[in-house]
């Protein structure tokens, strides 16, 4: 602190972030802000805890922490897989594994979703790193949609939640896979690369050499920090909606298939349940037609508030604003196309 050159601004600070070079005395960095926030939080801890006096806030806070505690391990698994892809899988290996023709590679990516048993939060960073490694966006996006919906854990959970109804498992598998593949093909026809934020597509930098484990750690750290913030945002939204959506929404829907489908599709988006648990929740709703329940199970892992937050953080808002609504519509249509013949319309 007693140096003679306090005015010396760090060069990277100026060029990298477009910040005017300033003396360190006048600069309040993020670390100082963090310390201040922590001190304030500790000082006003009683006031923070006092907010919990309201039962709705208390329930919401519990749900929020629960979503975070449950999702972060799965996000971590996802960023570790994506780090392994960056550090250890050469682009040539990915090229060999996938058909050269993107239209043919889309179904292969959908089937590959069977191999990543994780929640939807895990597949977003993986899809992004796949794109960076030269996998066509349509193929990576198919994988992103398929992985959380068709993996064995999810299918087994669905079978347990719907005892004696194997048709539900079959319908969920087919409709989810169909959604992923249709979205992949749609992206091939209509998708534009410029919708995806440039930072998500930028090739891994050439200076990323050095020991591979170091590349792995640095990739995991970056993906975790970036995606983690958005995951928290999604968790907050899910917690608020979980408390705010009245239970009456779900009552008295029996028999009215069209209304039930719309409500269940919207519920899947706002509740943002883990794909391994959603089958149990939907099974607990009384008097809802099976096809409407299928819509919930197909939409949930493909579009929900948590995923929209994660996707706009990873691929940019322009992407999420188009991809999420399109996926929503495709998922509902696929679920109806599979559900009505297989499960009936009543």
């Amino acid at each position: 602190m007693t140096t003679g050159t306090p005015e010396r601004a760090d060069p990277s600070e100026g060029t990298g972030r477009g910040v005017e070079p300033r003396g360190w005395r006048s600069r309040i960095g993020s670390l100082e802000v963090l310390c201040l926030l922590l001190v304030l939080a500790v000082v006003f801890q009683d006031a923070l805890v006092g907010v919990l006096d309201n039962p709705a806030v208390r329930t919401g806070a519990t749900v929020f922490v629960a979503v975070c505690v449950q999702a972060f391990p799965f996000l971590l698994l996802g960023v570790i897989v994506s780090g392994l892809i960056v550090a250890y899988v050469p682009e040539s290996a990915l090229r060999r594994a996938l058909p050269g023709n993107s239209a043919a590679a889309v179904p292969v990516a959908g089937a590959a979703g069977l191999a990543l048993p994780g929640c939807e939060c895990a597949s977003v960073p993986v899809a992004r790193r796949l794109m960076q490694r030269g996998v066509a966006p349509a193929v990576a996006l198919t994988f992103l949609l398929a992985a959380p919906a068709v993996n064995p854990i999810v299918l087994v959970a669905t079978a347990i939640a719907f005892p004696g109804q194997p048709a539900m498992v079959v319908a969920r598998f087919v409709a989810s896979l169909l959604t992923a593949v249709v979205m992949g093909w749609l992206w091939l026809r209509l998708g534009r690369t410029e919708w995806i934020a440039e930072r998500a597509l930028r090739r891994v930098r050439a200076d990323r050499t050095g020991p591979r484990w170091r590349v792995l750690v640095e990739t995991v750290r970056q993906d975790l920090v970036e995606a983690g913030g958005f995951l928290v945002l999604g968790g907050l939204a899910a917690a608020v909606l979980n408390v705010a959506v009245p239970a009456e929404w779900m009552d008295s829907l029996g028999g009215q298939l069209a209304l039930a489908v719309v409500v269940m599709a919207l519920l899947a988006v706002v509740l943002a349940l883990c794909s391994e648990a959603d089958a149990f929740v939907v099974a607990s709703l009384p008097g809802i037609p099976l096809t409407a329940k299928l819509v919930f199970l197909v939409v949930g892992p493909a579009v929900d508030v948590k995923l929209i937050a994660l996707q706009s953080g990873t691929f940019g808002r322009a992407f999420a604003a188009r991809f999420a609504p399109a996926t929503f519509v495709v998922a509902v249509v696929c679920a109806l196309a599979v559900g009505v013949p297989l499960l009936g319309a009543s």
Partner: protein, 260 residues
């Protein structure tokens, strides 16, 4: 946001996850079997951040710098331009990582209780389809006169059991009290993964001990002994069995508040 701040946030979040794993409050938020994953996430976050800090320090030391030796707050410390471009544009969202840290370390929300039960409306664990096994349940252990059961078990047997294992049986359940406008319930919350997918299970309390429930506030934990009225759980009442209570006593909340 600077690398150091990100690393500090990761260490705080990882530490928060380890803390709730250690003192078992994680059971308020996720099911017990997720413990290894939560611990893994906490350890991995701290490890990743610690490795990055160690690397930054060694890179800082090796960097030729005329004023060397000091590390004032403004220095980025790390391999100076590594990762800058990637963090550009997503800096603000990273601050959100502080929210779960504060929520876990300072607020520590309680387990779901009566509010969650009342909010759930007519949602029930009883699905429209009969469970596998044709409604024949395992007999309850007959060695004890009073059978200790989960509320889930009581509800499922009342609705589906055709072999009558509960008929005339004295059972004891543990749950929290919910005073509704027209009835008193003893309830538990059932979760699959985490508290976001909670579904309540409850018994409607009747019988001699009902008056005593005035002394037990909503959300207080009790142990109730009594008998289920056969066939009292119907679709019309949301599959809530009627429970003729003989005695009730206050108990400590169990370490795991949920049923699975």
């Amino acid at each position: 946001m600077r690398r150091e701040t990100q690393n500090v946030l990761l260490i705080l979040l990882g530490g928060a996850l380890l803390k709730i794993s250690w003192n078992e409050t994680y059971l308020r938020y996720v099911r017990a079997s997720l413990l290894p994953l939560v611990v893994f996430a906490g350890v991995a976050m701290i490890l990743v951040a610690a490795l990055a800090i160690a690397r930054d320090i060694s890179a800082h030391r090796n960097r030729p710098e005329p004023v060397g030796g000091h590390s004032h707050d403004g220095a980025p410390g790390g391999p100076s331009d590594d990762g800058h471009d990637h963090e550009h544009g997503s800096g603000r969202s990273t601050w959100m990582l502080l929210v779960p840290v504060l929520a876990i370390l300072l607020v520590a929300p309680p387990a779901l209780g009566a509010d969650s039960v009342q909010r759930a409306g007519s949602r029930s664990i009883v699905s429209d389809e009969e469970p596998a096994g044709g409604g024949l349940f395992q007999p309850i252990d007959a060695s004890d006169e009073v059978a200790e059961l989960q509320i889930t078990d009581v509800v499922m047997r009342t609705v589906w059991d055709r072999s009558g294992t509960l008929d005339g049986r004295t059972v004891r359940v543990t749950g929290f009290v919910v005073h509704d406008a027209d009835a008193v319930h003893v309830a538990r919350v059932r979760i699959m993964c985490c508290a976001a997918d909670a579904v309540p299970v409850k018994l409607r309390i009747e019988g001699p001990a009902l008056a005593e429930f005035a002394d037990h506030e909503t959300d207080s934990w009790v142990e109730v002994t009594g008998e289920v009225v056969p066939d009292s759980a119907t679709a019309a009442n949301g599959h809530v069995p009627t429970f003729v209570s003989e005695s009730v006593r206050a108990v400590e909340p169990p370490s795991d508040p949920y049923e699975y």
